[in-house]
């Protein structure tokens, strides 16, 4: 269960105004599905992904979940230029509280996947951007999560490596789920079982992926409406099977969840 309860998120613009991305959004992601997040540029897809991932904090409202959610797959944040690849992997293992054996296993997995040989023990600043990306992807897939968050699938490396990445990703998806932000509709259609269209502060669930993509293409093609402060997330497309404004589920675990 991943549920958004009265989620409000705004950013302060340079001129001091507040711009609301979401206002009192209530939404429930369906369980056990691969979810595509689609929407125009600036609609708030990535913000939503970051809120679900616990990276960004809402102004008020909350994300309630009992799932293990990854950091954005392939994210380069954990790499410190002067540290080696091995140290970077160890750092993330420690953050996730792994013991020594688990850590060794993770290191072996990342080392095998990234195929950067001796560079694994060299400072990250000496890596090419491709090597960096391979290390980051390996690190993300090395951990067991219920949901992997992906902000665009960054395919890296040569054809053989891409093939290997795809196979690994598909192996993971068979056990876990993904939440994928993408503008590439073929990818969404291939990987996702449902799509969530983020538009004008609403999130609308489409259980039929093709229908969702059509709705997206309508919003993308339409002239961009002036952004107004959206009202509470009652989506207009109830007919599309939207799970909007569902009853909030109270859980005592929220405080722990937000960091577990």
């Amino acid at each position: 269960m991943i549920e958004l309860q009265n989620l409000t998120k705004s950013y302060r613009l340079a001129n001091g105004e507040r711009r609301y991305i979401f206002r009192d959004l209530n939404f429930s992601f369906p369980d056990g599905t691969n979810i595509g997040l689609i929407g125009r540029n600036g609609a708030g897809k990535s913000t939503l992904l970051r809120l679900v991932g616990g990276i960004d904090q809402a102004d008020h409202g909350r994300v309630v979940t009992d799932k293990r959610i990854s950091w954005p797959v392939g994210l380069s944040g954990g790499l410190q230029p002067t540290l080696t690849g091995r140290d970077s992997v160890k750092f993330v293992c420690r953050v996730y509280g792994q013991n020594h054996e688990e850590m060794l296993e993770t290191i072996r997995f990342v080392q095998d996947f990234a195929e950067i040989d001796d560079y694994f023990d060299q400072p990250v600043k000496s890596y090419s951007s491709g090597m960096r990306a391979r290390l980051n992807f390996g690190l993300s897939w090395a951990f067991d999560f219920d949901y992997y968050l992906m902000d665009e699938i960054g395919a890296v490396g040569d054809a053989r490596f891409k093939q290997k990445s795809r196979e690994l990703m598909e192996r993971r998806i068979s056990r876990s789920n993904i939440i994928l932000v993408s503008h590439a509709m073929p990818e969404i259609a291939r990987l996702c079982n449902v799509v969530v269209l983020v538009n004008d502060g609403h999130a609308i669930l489409f259980e039929d992926v093709d229908e969702g993509i059509r709705a997206y293409q309508e919003t993308a093609g339409a002239p961009q409406p002036k952004r107004t402060q959206p009202v509470a997330g009652t989506g207009p497309l109830q007919s599309a099977g939207a799970v909007v404004g569902s009853t909030p589920v109270a859980t005592a675990q929220t405080r722990l969840d937000s960091r577990s």
Binding site: Q57, G77, L83, F91, R94, G97, S260
Partner: protein, 264 residues
């Protein structure tokens, strides 16, 4: 691949995050050099040794029968402890910003990890220097170890509280950073690190006594040397109170700004 228990308690998470950050900081700062861990201790030691040799030369070898280098060390080590923690915590968020993509890591964890690391470094340095001084034949009295530990603890907490406040100040006012760094220089002189504050003309004392670091340094020296003439108005209560206030303001301000600190 391993399966972790679904939930870790907040305490377990914080513990592993602080430990991970501590090792990361340690490696980032010193691990990449050859003999890195040697430089780690050499840097503060060099500072102390150069200062004490320099000022001993200028002022003569002893002062109220206290060996001057020992006098300097008992001032410089606590002062550097306080200053390093405050400035390191101030930079803690900016230096680790990218790490907040891991949902477990919060700004407070970087504050705690940095405070622990600098405390650990200061203690190791102090122990080595004092042992070294005793070994070359200087008199290193250690009259009241309990007070020494208590005053170090106060300075650590005060540095942490001040660092948190400064961290939020530079979040909204990045240009203040240079000014803050410069401000520690006059504080160095106003805290009686390199000369006993009793040498300052009487009429300035009421103003100088507002500086809690001065109180801490004076108490530290009194805890080391029997014959040290402490100013009459020095008060342990005053620095405890200051520390509590600074920590409270720092924590409260952090609490209200914690989301802003996370924002990229």
């Amino acid at each position: 691949m391993t399966t972790k228990p679904l939930m870790r308690s907040a305490w377990q998470i914080q513990k592993s995050v602080v430990f991970a950050l501590f090792l990361r900081e340690l490696k980032t700062r010193f691990g990449t050099y050859k003999f890195g861990y040697f430089w780690m201790l050499l840097e503060p030691m060099a500072h102390v040794v150069v200062m004490s040799v320099l000022f001993s030369y200028i002022r003569g070898r002893s002062l109220f029968g206290i060996d001057f280098p020992v006098f300097i060390v008992t001032g410089i080590v606590p002062f550097l402890l306080f200053k390093n923690i405050a400035l390191r915590v101030m930079d803690g968020v900016n230096a680790n910003r990218a790490l907040f993509a891991y949902r477990q890591i919060k700004p407070m964890d970087t504050f705690v990890a940095r405070t622990l690391l600098d405390t650990f470094l200061a203690l190791a340095t102090a122990a080595l220097i004092l042992l070294g001084m005793a070994w070359v034949g200087l008199e290193v009295p250690f009259r009241d170890p309990f007070s020494v530990v208590a005053i170090m603890a106060i300075l650590v907490l005060m540095g942490l509280g001040l660092g948190m406040i400064l961290c939020i100040v530079v979040k909204y006012l990045p240009e203040a950073k240079t000014l803050i760094r410069i401000a520690f220089l006059p504080l160095y002189f106003l805290s009686g690190i390199i000369f006993p504050i009793t040498k300052v003309p009487q009429e300035f004392l009421p103003y100088l006594l507002w500086n809690p670091v001065l109180h801490a340094i004076e108490l530290m020296r009194a805890a080391f040397f029997d014959q040290y003439h402490m100013l009459p108005d020095i008060s342990l209560l005053f620095i405890w109170m200051t520390t509590l206030v600074v920590l409270f303001v720092g924590l409260a301000w952090y609490r209200t700004n914690r989301n802003a600190l996370l924002a990229i």
